[in-house]
């Protein structure tokens, strides 16, 4: 039935954490796998593979998205930011500082996605209220923290 399917490699050009990237990859690869396997950016995590947990959240063209629900081809021409790309000149991003300061991190598996959801929010809305923050991270499941210290960390971040 499914014999001799030839997969045509696709060429991609995009910026990743501010740097231009050009590469070839398989057409049935998810963005998540492109990041983790091809580019060795393992800060992006896989928790559910169906866009429910948010552990794989990255920023595509300023918007938070689930990288498990995108094919690599879809990012052609886009600007991608992953957790590895938000520190500036070796300094932690203010969100990262606050996640530490407010005790927002326990096991840490959801944290990259959580921080990126918050990052996308704050870049659009510098002073979000608590409800807005909760809505912005509702797609990022955390089983450890109960979210309270995460919300505090975001609320107290000044960009």
């Amino acid at each position: 039935m499914k014999k001799n399917k030839i997969l045509k490699k696709i060429k991609l050009r995009f910026t990743l954490n501010g740097e231009p990237v050009e590469l070839e990859t398989l057409p049935n690869k998810r963005l998540l796998d492109l990041l983790r396997d091809d580019l060795n950016l393992t800060g992006t995590k896989e928790g559910c593979s169906i866009g429910e947990c948010g552990a794989c959240t990255v920023i595509v063209n300023d918007k938070a998205v689930n990288s498990c629900l995108m094919l690599a081809g879809e990012i052609n021409g886009s600007a991608i930011i992953t957790i590895e790309g938000i520190s500036q000149n070796g300094n932690l991003h203010p969100l990262q500082e606050n996640f530490l300061k407010f005790g927002a991190v326990q096991c840490g598996f959801c944290i990259p996605g959580m921080i990126l959801s918050a990052y996308a929010l704050l870049n659009k809305n510098r002073r979000p209220d608590e409800e807005t923050i909760k809505e912005a991270i509702a797609g990022n499941l955390c089983r450890c923290t109960g979210y309270k210290q995460i919300i505090e960390a975001i609320k107290n971040t000044k960009l």
Binding site: S49, A55, C107, F109, A138, L141, C144, T145, K148, Q149
Partner: protein, 801 residues
């Protein structure tokens, strides 16, 4: 006892935090080794069957298959288990639950292997399945493991006083039955492990999402028939566990190891969420029958408890989980006459084992709900009934243990919770508004259509829709393992000549912040800044076996060991300085802020690094191994009497909710959580334990449930197995009451589990206060609130897929 602290009890930033917020922290799947192969599982569609034959002929020559592993590849134990050896690494004689794995395909391309896995022909002889634990002990029910001749896994009786006399002395008797469902741990990181064959005859190296490396080592060694020192197990950063990455990781590590040794290549197993939920163990469903006799003044005279736990297909930690239940089943109340039976039985359901709470969330839900009904029946408030019966110093528990040698702070946490929430006033006010109860619809055996259509009078006006409620629950909880297991822990502390330090404890970080808590303890004793302490990666080769990270024991036991290691060095350093500086015994040497000095003689002062350089030059040993054996406890299994735990912690939670009497929605507005964990070591970590535990408890209360069809879990991913999001739980207010205790580091005890065990009962009581209805079955979800029962789809469909 030391009362003033430099570091203890303050908010300290996690040591592993920076790696985690930058994405650099390496979890199991982030480790990549050259030449790695992957393992994909072969399962059946059966719940209970005899395996007649496994035929690989259709796939064995496929180019994608490097090798196929099954039970025939096992040189050592084919069945394992932490307590009872009933769980096969690969099923070979029977399928006893849908998660069972008969073989593992090993190759490079996981996608191809998944397709091939469906082509293995497994010849089965189907057996009748047993999925109702109530029927497990029926004589005509099938035996899950015929070798044990019974489906009874364990029976814990507890007998105290004269139960009949107690009922005779009672004015009232209340009887109620409560149930709780299977619960998934729902760690966000699914299981992942890599096994790597070591050079020569060094054995095997395993790195993965492992809760308890020493347990994995023991099981893998048994399966491989290796000595313990040839199985080296390392814990990667662990993406959540909550008790859930124990047995399952033993089995996965064993499978990966067999394949790695056979292929001489690294073999990785990485589960999808669906596989994780299908195969991993759950929290036990309980059916709990309580019969309670009490006087008209509210004094409980007798409590007869019958509990049935569904162990599922394998024993796992069931005997220990249910043992905690038997110790704590009466709740924190002094009752003269108690008769408790806790039984756990095999079924073909998913197996059940350790999960945060460990046998307590179930019984606290039942027994604390019941306490409110007793209060209501007597016209008392919930806090009054608890004050009449609750433990004080010197009280005797159901198991006959006198509560002493620590602050028995039950009344203090209760009073604090009530005052902080204005509990009694709100509760009494809400009780007045039961005039509009839930329009419960009752059905006979068959649904009669017309009942589903409302009559004019049944419509609820918008302003009458939401009802407010407040509810209370209190508990006591034994710290650490108790009489259920060997309890001791080791720690290794090695100071370097420049004053920096390595620290390692034999217990494993589960994400809760244990490493930081331990570093704080060292810092407190030796004055080294926490950031100068490097917490070593835990491998089984480098530190004595310290038992598992379970039972909220890491602070009390591991902390005790770290304190011991630090004190050994402190004593050694002081002795050295006394001779070096020619001090007397009366001179007080102070270690703080990275300095050592003599109080009142400031010329005797060294920075910590100057000191270590000096001590190193003088040949002083700068390393130590600390050890903390648990205090003695004893238990008489026949009557359930004895000193069950060496100490206890106490907690009270108040839930404030709104209930929609039309839809059954429950909004959790606020939880006030008052806990006596003993001494708080890291305030940030302690707060996080409360927020996280309460939120898991809230999910348990109102929506979490793993339902089954013929033993198959139905909610296999987070689109269906719902855990709380950021929007589901309102305010959480943690309050700590720090009681004194002679055990644990400065009296630090347990917090992780008490925070979770109370929440569902407090919420259930708040719902009753809101709507005047008692609910007996978790979760109190939409259907439960409206219909007082669950509805199950015949054929579940996945969301929008």
């Amino acid at each position: 006892m030391k009362e003033k602290f430099n570091v203890i009890g303050k908010p300290v930033i996690r040591q592993d935090g920076k790696a985690k917020v930058t994405g650099q922290a390496k979890f199991a799947d982030d480790y990549k080794f050259p030449n790695t192969l992957f393992g994909v599982m072969v399962r059946t569609k059966s719940t209970h069957a005899i395996i007649k034959n496994i035929d690989y002929s259709e796939i064995e020559n496929d180019k994608n298959i490097v090798t196929i592993i099954d039970a025939s590849d096992i040189k050592g134990a084919k069945k394992t288990g932490l307590i009872r050896k009933d769980q096969p690494v690969f099923a070979f004689d029977k399928i006893v639950t849908p998660g069972d794995v008969v073989a593992m395909l090993v190759g490079v391309d996981v996608d191809e292997l998944r397709i091939l896995a469906k082509k293995v022909k497994i010849e089965l002889e189907e057996l009748p399945s047993l999925t109702d634990p109530e029927k497990s002990l029926d004589p005509d029910s099938p035996l899950i493991h015929p070798e044990f001749n019974t489906n009874l896994v364990v029976h814990h009786p507890l007998r105290k006083g004269d139960i009949e006399k107690g009922f005779n002395e009672s004015d009232y008797i209340i009887e109620q039955t409560y149930t709780t469902p299977h619960i998934e741990h729902a760690y966000i990181e699914p299981e992942c492990v890599t096994a790597i064959p070591l050079e020569g005859d060094k054995g095997i190296y395993i790195i993965g999402s492992i809760q308890n490396p020493f347990t994995v080592r023991r099981i893998v060694a048994e399966v491989l028939n290796f000595p313990l020192n040839k199985v080296r197990v390392e814990q990667a950063e662990l993406g959540g566990s909550f008790g859930g990455k124990d047995d399952i990781m033993c089995i996965l590590s064993a499978r990966a190891s067999i394949a790695a040794l056979k292929t001489k290549r690294p073999v990785k197993i990485k589960y999808t969420r669906e596989e994780s939920i299908l195969e991993s163990y759950k929290r036990h469903p309980y059916r709990m029958h309580y019969k309670v006799g009490y006087t008209k003044e509210g004094k409980i005279k007798a409590m007869k408890i019958d509990i049935l736990a569904d162990a599922g297909a394998y024993c796992s930690m069931t005997p220990y989980v249910t043992w905690r239940s038997v110790v704590q089943a009466t709740g924190p109340y002094e009752i003269e006459n108690v008769w408790t039976d806790v039984r756990a039985v095999y079924t073909n359901n998913p197996y059940t084992g350790a999960m945060r709470g460990f046998g307590s969330p179930q019984i606290v839900f039942a027994q604390e709900s019941l306490m409110d009904d007793i209060a209501v029946s007597l016209g008392l408030t919930p806090d009054e009934i608890r004050r009449i019966n609750g433990y004080r110093y010197g009280s005797i528990t159901a198991s006959g243990q006198r509560l002493e040698n620590h602050d028995v702070n039950l009344m203090k946490v209760l009073d604090t919770a009530c005052e902080a929430t204005n509990f009694r006033e709100k509760w009494l006010e809400n009780e007045k508004h039961h005039n509009r109860r839930i329009p419960t619809i009752e059905f006979k055996d068959e649904i009669i259509n017309k009942n589903l259509i409302l009559s004019d009078r049944e419509f609820v006006e918008p302003e009458d829709t939401w009802k407010k409620g407040i509810g209370l629950a209190i508990s006591f909880r034994g710290s650490s393992l108790g009489a259920e297991g060997i309890d001791a822990a080791a720690a290794y502390l090695s100071i370097q000549s420049d004053g920096s330090a390595y620290l390692l404890c034999g217990l494993a970080e589960n994400g809760q912040g244990m490493k930081t808590a331990y570093s704080i303890i060292v810092s407190e004793i030796l004055g080294i800044p926490v950031e100068n302490i490097y917490y070593l990666e835990l491998t089984t080769a480098h530190i004595p076996d310290s038992g598992p990270t379970v039972a909220s024991r890491s602070t009390v036991m591991g902390g005790g060991a770290v304190k011991n290691a630090s004190e050994i060095l402190r004593k050694r350093f002081e002795d050295f300085l006394r001779s070096q500086w020619q001090l007397t015994e009366d001179d007080l040497i102070v270690f703080e802020n990275n300095k050592i000095y003599v109080k009142g003689k400031e010329k005797f002062s060294l920075s910590f690094s100057e000191f270590t350089a000096l001590a190193y030059k003088k040949g002083i040993c700068l390393a130590s191994i600390g050890w903390y054996p648990g205090p003695k406890i004893h238990w008489d299994e026949k009557v359930g009497q004895g000193k069950a735990y060496f100490t206890y912690v106490y907690g009270a939670q108040v839930a404030e909710v709104r209930v929609n009497i039309v839809t059954g929605e429950v909004y959790i507005d606020k939880i006030t959580a008052v806990h006596d964990p003993g001494k708080v070591i890291n305030l940030l970590g302690a707060l996080g334990q409360v927020y996280g535990g309460v939120t898991q408890g809230a999910g348990y209360a109102i929506f979490e449930e793993l339902s089954k069809q013929n033993g198959f879990p139905q909610e296999l991913n987070f689109d269906q197995y719902l855990i709380p999001t950021s929007k589901d739980v309102g305010e959480i207010v943690p309050i700590f009451i720090e009681g004194k205790d002679e055990f644990g580091p400065w009296g630090a005890k347990s917090l992780g589990e008490p925070t979770l065990e109370l929440t569902s009962a407090a919420i259930n009581n708040a719902i009753r206060n809101a709507v005047g209805e008692r609910y007996f079955n978790l979760p109190v979800n939409l259907e439960e609130v409206i219909l007082k029962r669950k509805l199950r789809p015949g054929d579940i469909q996945r969301g929008s897929l």
